[in-house]
């Protein structure tokens, strides 16, 4: 009984009026209902329904499946070179971007944590890329990284270096796309790290300094272990977002409408393939199989991430 009222004094009130009592009982459910109902309808249901769609041949524009095909779409997926190619590209871009991003964001946070002037100005300016539209960023970077006339290759040319085929070669295209991702998110993650750094008690550093720890040791044995929960948070969110990367590779393509991710699919990611199969080739069933596979990959990565990061940082904490 007590569990359904707010707190003790209300029990005196509830006997006064049955209506008021009903109000207290029902209101919490009414307040959470919009979230759960809408989320179930437009978030959870489509995600689960994806599994059902993936067991069918289902053409675009039809609201019913053409035929039940069992696991055929998954067999096709298993033998689809483009799928494995896109998985490799996605993981490669994700690894390049997330590792450099965390290092850069950490460095930036350390810099911002010093006694600098124009503190707020720096923070706002470094967050500006976060507000920029991804479509615009993709177009701008695709232009800057142009193979023939791009600014970056021009600058390399001033130093007598050969231009790099940022679009046609696999690894350079992954580097360029990772640069795009990092450009947008480094400042944002730096602020998250900075906020967490500022909660570390100062006497820890003071004590370490007395014990003769230098700047690097203080960072390595105090800052990093203390930031552990935040690092886990950033790694997991960047995993979930990074594995679904779509707009960056799509806009990086000189012919973005195809969804090929480069002439030889050299930077086609899984979500790009999903979009191409579903909404360019009109194989909704196969696209659903790709989506469901990606979902499982993301879950696997998130769980692995969690354990790896926890293991690493707790090992560090023990060393200390």
């Amino acid at each position: 009984m007590a569990a359904t009222t707010i707190a003790t004094p209300t029990r005196r009130l509830t006997v006064k009026q049955r209506l008021s009592r009903l109000d207290v009982k029902l209101s919490p459910y009414l307040y959470i209902a919009p979230f759960f109902i809408i989320f179930a309808l437009v978030g959870l249901f489509p995600l689960l329904y994806t599994a059902w769609v993936s067991l069918h041949r289902w053409s675009f524009g039809s609201d019913k499946p053409d035929a039940y095909v069992g696991l055929h779409n998954y067999q096709r997926l298993w033998h689809d070179e483009l799928f494995w190619n896109s998985l490799k590209n996605t993981v490669s871009i994700f690894l390049i971007s997330s590792t450099t991003q965390i290092v850069l964001a950490m460095l930036l946070a350390v810099l911002l944590n010093e006694q600098i002037r124009f503190r707020t100005g720096f923070r706002i300016a470094l967050l500006l890329p976060y507000a920029t539209s991804l479509v615009a960023v993709g177009i701008i970077f695709s232009n800057l990284f142009g193979d023939q006339f791009g600014l970056i290759n021009n600058i390399l040319g001033w130093f007598g270096l050969n231009g790099i085929n940022w679009h046609t070669d696999r690894l350079p295209s992954h580097l360029a796309i990772s640069t795009m991702v990092n450009w947008r998110w480094t400042g944002y993650n730096a602020l998250i790290f900075l906020a967490a750094m500022q909660t570390i008690p100062k006497d820890l550093y003071e004590a370490a300094r007395i014990d003769g720890a230098n700047t690097w040791e203080r960072f390595r044995y105090i800052t990093v272990p203390m930031l552990r929960p935040v690092i886990i948070f950033v790694v997991i969110t960047s995993t979930i977002g990074g594995l679904q990367i779509f707009t960056e590779p799509r806009m990086f393509d000189p012919i973005p409408g195809t969804g090929n991710g480069g002439a030889s699919h050299q930077f086609q990611t899984i979500t790009l393939l999903l979009w191409q199969e579903g909404f360019r080739n009109f194989h909704l069933g196969y696209a659903a199989a790709i989506a469901w596979a990606l979902f499982l990959i993301i879950v696997a990565f998130a769980i692995a991430n969690f354990f790896v990061v926890r293991r690493i940082s707790s090992a560090e904490a023990e060393e200390q």
Partner: protein
């Protein structure tokens, strides 16, 4: 912001009296932190130029002739063609339609996310009811669920109900987020004192009036931050609007994509388009930057 600033490190307080070895160590510390400071400003400026340059580049190319993007030594200053380029953008795509669509969609999504998150966050933070903990665990578990992957059935459903090509197809799937509920709940737990709710109840307030007169005023700072983030996210969303809308009724992102899809690329035109598409958010950011920075940092500490 101010509370956060107060906790930033101040290298060894100068007025700390009794400890004996203080002067020597402080001097040593000062000596060490002098050079890093120059290095600090240098690196920070490099980061700063890095984040500003692509934005400057789009305005630069967008304000010149179409060949500028390919010059081997590009100009450093913007030219005078921005408005004529902008006119060409308006001729080529339904930019004003796209702009109003983006404002309506992002605005509606923001209102809905903030309202429903505050309601649910209040219930989870301050009201007791059967199943509360289990339901809240569910919310947390769904934080990491990539709902974007449901686009195939979502499209089938939207097509069935004739919503494809209409703005509600973009608005409705984004009306709630688990992150919003989590965020508001974390904030409201400490922002609304239980005594205040009890006092309001004793005075005869109904639950909805408690929500409106006690919770909403206290929730405002967190709701504002949630609103800004939701708006930025909704404004920049691309994959789903690309699927659910069409060139006759686009959002800004879909319209910019449309300019970019042509076979012969006119980069000054395209970059004018991207500049127009980023400008509203950047202006908003300059005005609200301080609050947004504070919001991210507070969120990080609580999360």
């Amino acid at each position: 912001m101010t509370t956060l600033d107060a906790t930033t490190p101040r290298a060894a307080p100068p007025s700390a009296p009794p400890r004996v070895p203080r002067p020597a160590r402080q001097a040593r510390h000062r000596g060490r932190s002098w050079r890093p400071t120059l290095l600090t400003y240098g690196l920070l400026t490099a980061f700063l130029l890095g984040s500003a340059f692509p934005l400057y580049w789009q305005a630069l190319v967008g304000s010149r002739e179409s060949t500028t993007a390919f010059d081997s030594t590009p100009p450093l200053l913007p030219g005078g063609n921005f408005f004529s380029n902008a006119q060409r953008v308006f001729d080529q795509v339904r930019f004003w339609k796209a702009l109003s669509n983006s404002l309506i969609a992002a605005g509606a999504i923001t209102l809905s996310v903030v309202l429903f998150s505050t309601l649910a966050g209040f219930a989870f933070a301050k009201l007791r009811f059967r199943g509360r903990n289990a339901l809240y665990v569910f919310v947390i578990a769904t934080l990491a669920v990539p709902t974007q992957l449901g686009i195939v059935p979502l499209y089938i459903l939207m097509a069935k109900y004739g919503w494809v090509g209409h703005l509600q197809a973009v608005i409705v799937p984004n009306m709630v987020t688990a992150l919003g509920v989590f965020w508001m709940r974390q904030y409201l737990v400490q922002a609304v004192p239980n005594e205040l709710i009890e006092a309001a109840r004793v005075d005869g307030c109904s639950m909805i009036r408690v929500f409106w007169h006690v919770c909403v005023p206290a929730a405002r700072p967190a709701a504002a931050v949630l609103g800004v983030f939701t708006f930025v996210m909704a404004w920049n969303d691309f994959l789903w609007p690309l699927i659910a809308l069409n060139p006759e009724n686009p959002t800004v992102q879909v319209a910019i994509d449309q300019i970019n899809t042509g076979f012969s690329k006119d980069f000054s035109l395209i970059m004018t388009g991207t500049t127009l598409a980023t400008l509203p958010l950047i202006i908003g950011f300059i005005f609200l930057g301080r609050q947004i920075v504070a919001g991210i940092m507070q969120g990080a500490v609580k999360g």
